[in-house]
């Protein structure tokens, strides 16, 4: 319990750092990009909205600490201003409309990559010198060396443009509207295949290699030899004794690498025009939509921290040694 609380404190601290970073960026960056934004879009805003945005970006003459306190208050209450590129929708609403797609895409891809990658790693380490152990890692390293977005473009070109097997863009066909029907679900699934497979293919090698290396270390442990001496069946030794221990570092690195996976998902979304927050982030950058940009960054950070916290709770369940201390 104490461990969980300590981790919670740590994540709160991390979130505070990112909020503060967000607060400082527009105020101390050279070139005054915010003024440019105002120059471009001021005409469309009401005076209240202008005042609010000016406060959000420090273009008023209140003392800095006062601005900071107000900013923290705004973030905590979920008030991140209005989007400029999708004026006058509030940032929170824009994000709320899109985060579901990112969760769907990122979650599916991550789940597949983690499960399959770790299984491959376990098997590779168990049968040293086999196909999985000798041929697979270099191959997956090679595939994993390609940039996410480049593979996405390749897949799009090959399976979308040339072969026409999969749709080219968006999360569902134009003309349909979201509904809880089987027809719509299969449409969504079809749109999901290419982007998800891209992410899986690029990231699976990392999972497999990490698992393989930990498994190799674990297989040399005395308790594996002991389990063999006990006459246990190989399957039981492999999963209950070896993999069960080897997955502990994997769980830790799962949280750590979440940020990278999110990044990859963002780029993939851009290529497929997948309507998630990553695609929206790029649109925000191109439209000089700083409030939306910052809102998305904070949302993603919060999500990553939250998942990490959940991973910690799972870890405590998995490793009895942490539970006691």
């Amino acid at each position: 319990m104490q461990f969980v609380l300590r981790r919670l404190g740590f994540y709160l601290l991390a979130f505070w750092v990112s909020v503060t970073l967000n607060f400082l960026l527009p105020r101390f960056m050279p070139g005054d990009p915010v003024s440019r934004m105002f120059a471009r879009s001021q005409s469309r805003m009401t005076p209240e909205q202008i005042t609010q945005l000016r406060q959000l970006f420090g273009l008023d003459d209140r003392p800095l600490w006062r601005q900071y306190v107000d900013y923290l208050g705004n973030v905590v209450t979920g008030d991140m201003g209005v989007s400029i590129s999708r004026f006058p929708t509030p940032v929170v609403e824009v994000i709320a409309g899109q985060i579901g797609w990112t969760v769907l895409l990122g979650g599916t891809a991550l789940l597949i990559a983690v499960v399959v990658g770790n299984l491959l790693g376990i098997l590779a380490a168990w049968r040293r010198g086999g196909f999985l152990d000798s041929m697979m890692p270099p191959f997956l390293v090679f595939v994993g060396s390609f940039p996410y977005f480049w593979l996405a473009m390749g897949a799009l070109y090959l399976f979308g443009v040339s072969l026409g097997w999969f749709p080219l863009r968006h999360a569902f066909s134009a003309g349909t509207s979201p509904a809880w029907t089987g027809e719509f679900a299969s449409d969504v699934a079809l749109h999901l295949v290419l982007p998800a497979v891209t992410i899986v293919v690029v990231s699976i090698g990392g999972w497999m290699l990490a698992m393989r290396n930990t498994m190799i270390a674990t297989n040399a442990e005395d308790y594996i030899v002991m389990a063999e001496a006990k006459g246990l069946r190989p399957g039981r030794i492999m999963f209950r004794y070896a993999a069960r221990n080897a997955m502990l570092p994997a769980v830790t690195s799962f949280g750590m690498s979440l940020g990278f996976v999110v990044g990859g998902a963002l780029l993939t979304e851009v290529v497929f025009a997948y309507p998630g927050v990553g695609y929206q982030l790029l649109a925000a950058v191109q439209g000089l939509d700083y409030p939306l940009m910052q809102g998305i960054f904070l949302t993603i950070t919060a999500a990553v921290l939250l998942v990490n916290f959940l991973v910690d709770i799972v870890y405590v369940r998995l490793d009895p040694r942490v539970r006691v201390s």
């Binding site: 527009p26 890692p137 799009l156 950058v285």
Partner: protein, 663 residues
């Protein structure tokens, strides 16, 4: 038989010893000071490191690809003299003789763009790698040097930055900063340093805790020397792999940023090439040549760096290497390797056989080889002995002498590269080496059980001890889980541990208790033979005495025979009926324990005995083996008296000063 003194540097231990425990691979969330899970081998001397790296095939391929790109970079003006940004009318041309890789929508030559793009991409990647690694090393050294509060703060900051999602942060940072290559580098270092710092910090701290750092301090070295001459050289291989990792990060992230249009799109780089290809809709018009080369280049460079990194891992931790020959048993845990168990080929006359009754265990001419890539070492060499019903047979010797090899061979627990190449092992007349896998599994633990050296590590840390005992019952007997649990509880009481401890995890028990649990587990199926491989080495004497008493009690009750392995001659003589002394894979002496105590014949036996001075009587000068004394070509045992067998030997003819009696 001869005694040689090797004065030159020589490695004492045979490879079979596995001499030192491998660092535990578990990353402990609670303590951040745990070294990273990746390369876990200790620091290597630099000479050997570079040489091994050059021999590694992955490294060769990696270096080859990198060299190719280096050439591309340097020869760019020769290979692609035309200005890559030159806009012509010949837009979106497929590859042709004039434009080997075709042209972009604006009519620029793709080959020229790709070649010139290497400069910016590689420069940014390497600069980012350099800067991030430098920050990492600084953080590591600072944490190690200042310790305590500084380290806590540094580790906190590192972990916070590590958690912030990289790409969104990159995007936000890049959006606020003026576009340009400098911005890209700064932004990448800001988001990328934490990964390097985390690895290097935990590495520096783990080296800081080593005795050689303390030894340098005690010698009188100053802090600066300790940091840069003691710590840093030992971090070299990990610094290198961190550098490679951050270069990969740099190149990939730069491409990502530029692809999003967040870099300076007027610079020619692989990332901007892809940005323009995407912007010009190259894909939609089927101009695959516009985006293929740059992406492939990024992938090739990243692949080469990954290979190199991988090779560094393999060199620092050779276990990760893929085994070359795929022969029977080279695969990990499984049957235990037997190459040729042609029983009864060479039979030595001598065997350490004490009595006439049917033995429980009969080992004859057992030979085990460790087949390395370059050389083969004999771990056990024509070892023969028998153990009678209820007898305690001791096997004494130092680390690397082959005593554990023999123990593991009896249960066929040896793993590659160890291979049983000859001899036989018979248990109550059954040929153990010929057993098929399923028979072997039921033979294990039911007939012969084993107590390993370290109870700390021979229990699965994430399973309750109850479950680990239950595993034995449910595997070997058709019992329900409930029944198995009940029996497990009885078993714990047999070794005087409360039944409620069934639900405890290994780390919740003291060292002595853990060893008792292992002993309880070992007698669960009432085996006829118990192998005990240094069962008390890691324990304090008081606990050791209690464990040994416990084993004596169990033996009275259950009547199993024991193969007892230790380097502690006093303990062995107290406990064993008969014993043998092993050296370099061979038996040098075998006799009833009392005989060994009274008149040890072999000089090596005497040296072992002398290592344990008596607690009573006058203090007399004792002698050990002088440094560098080796026995070679040990002959077969010869019976010198009833049941007392000794290998032929001379008295050591050298008498270094060590053996002289001091004033």
């Amino acid at each position: 038989m001869s005694v040689t003194e090797s004065t030159s540097a020589s490695l004492g231990a045979a490879p079979g010893a596995g001499s030192r425990p491998a660092p535990n691979a578990h990353l402990d969330l609670a303590s951040d000071a745990t070294p990273p899970a990746g390369p876990s081998g200790g620091p290597l001397p630099r000479r050997g490191f570079v040489r091994s790296l050059l021999r590694n095939r992955k490294a060769t391929v990696g270096v080859g690809i990198l060299a190719l790109f280096a050439a591309l970079l340097l020869l760019a003006p020769l290979l692609a003299p035309s200005d890559p940004t030159l806009i012509t009318d010949a837009g979106s041309q497929p590859p042709s003789a004039e434009h080997l890789l075709g042209t972009t929508a604006k009519g620029q030559d793709v080959l020229a763009l790709t070649i010139w793009g290497a400069r910016s991409s590689l420069a940014v990647g390497f600069l980012v790698g350099l800067a991030a690694t430098l920050v990492g090393v600084t953080v590591g050294l600072a944490a190690a040097y200042f310790g305590k509060v500084t380290d806590d703060v540094l580790s906190l900051v590192t972990n916070v930055f590590l958690l912030l999602p990289g790409l969104p942060l990159l995007v936000v940072l890049a959006a606020f900063l003026p576009p340009g290559t400098g911005t890209v580098i700064v932004v990448l270092v800001v988001t990328g340093w934490a990964g390097a710092a985390r690895v290097l910090r935990s590495l520096a701290l783990s080296i800081r805790a080593k005795d050689f750092v303390a030894a340098a301090t005690v010698t009188g070295e100053g802090a600066g020397w300790v940091m840069f001459r003691e710590l840093l050289p030992n971090m070299a291989s990990i610094v290198m792999s961190t550098f490679l990792g951050t270069v990969i990060f740099g190149i990939g992230s730069q491409a990502g940023l530029e692809f999003l249009g967040l870099g300076d799109v007027s610079v020619v780089s692989w990332g901007t090439n892809l940005y323009w290809a995407s912007n010009d809709g190259a894909l939609m018009v089927g101009a695959w040549w516009a985006f293929l080369p740059s992406g492939l280049c990024i992938a090739l460079v990243a692949f080469a760096l990954s290979l190199l990194n991988y090779a560094v891992d393999e060199v620092t931790n050779p276990r990760l290497r893929v085994p070359r020959r795929r022969r029977a048993g080279v695969h990990a845990p499984g049957g235990g390797t037997v190459v040729s168990a042609a029983a009864g080929t060479a039979t030595s006359r001598a065997s350490a056989n004490g009595h006439g009754a049917t033995p429980v265990l009969e080992v004859r001419d057992l030979t085990v080889e460790y087949r390395g890539e370059n050389r083969t070492v004999v771990g056990a060499d024509r070892v023969s002995f028998t153990i009678g019903e209820g007898e305690v047979f001791g096997l004494a010797g130092e680390s690397g002498c082959g005593k554990s090899t023999v123990a593991h061979a009896i249960m066929r627990l040896l793993r590659a590269p160890a291979v049983i190449t000859g001899g036989s092992v018979r248990f109550c007349g059954r040929d153990v080496l010929a057993m098929p896998d399923d028979q072997l599994r039921s033979f294990r633990w039911r007939d012969v059980a084993m107590v390993f050296q370290s109870a700390m590590s021979s229990l699965n840390p994430v399973m309750t001890i109850g479950d680990q005992i239950v595993d034995v019952y449910t595997t070997h007997e058709r019992v329900s889980r409930r029944e198995a649990l009940r029996r497990a509880a009885d078993l714990l009481e047999l070794v005087k541990i409360d039944r409620s401890r069934l639900r405890a995890y290994p780390h919740q028990l003291s060292g002595g208790m853990r060893q008792r649990v292992v002993i309880a587990m070992a007698v669960a199926l009432r085996p006829r033979l118990l192998i005990m491989d240094e069962p008390t080495t890691a324990l304090d004497v008081v606990v050791q005495q209690e464990i040994m008493a416990q084993i004596a009690d169990l033996r009275r009750e259950l009547g199993f025979a024991v193969l007892f392995i230790t380097h502690d001659m006093s303990l062995m003589i107290e406990l064993s009926d008969r014993m043998a002394v092993m050296y370099g894979g061979r038996f040098v002496e075998s006799a009833p324990a009392a005989t060994i105590l009274a008149e040890p014949r072999h000089p090596y036996t005497r040296a072992l005995m002398n290592a344990f001075p008596p607690l009573t009587g006058p203090r007399t000068e004792l002698r050990g083996l002088a440094e560098g004394v080796r026995f070679t070509d040990i002959g077969d045992l010869v019976e010198v008296a009833g049941g007392h067998w000794v290998a032929p030997h001379d008295e050591p003819h050298d008498a270094p000063r060590d053996q002289e009696v001091p004033a």
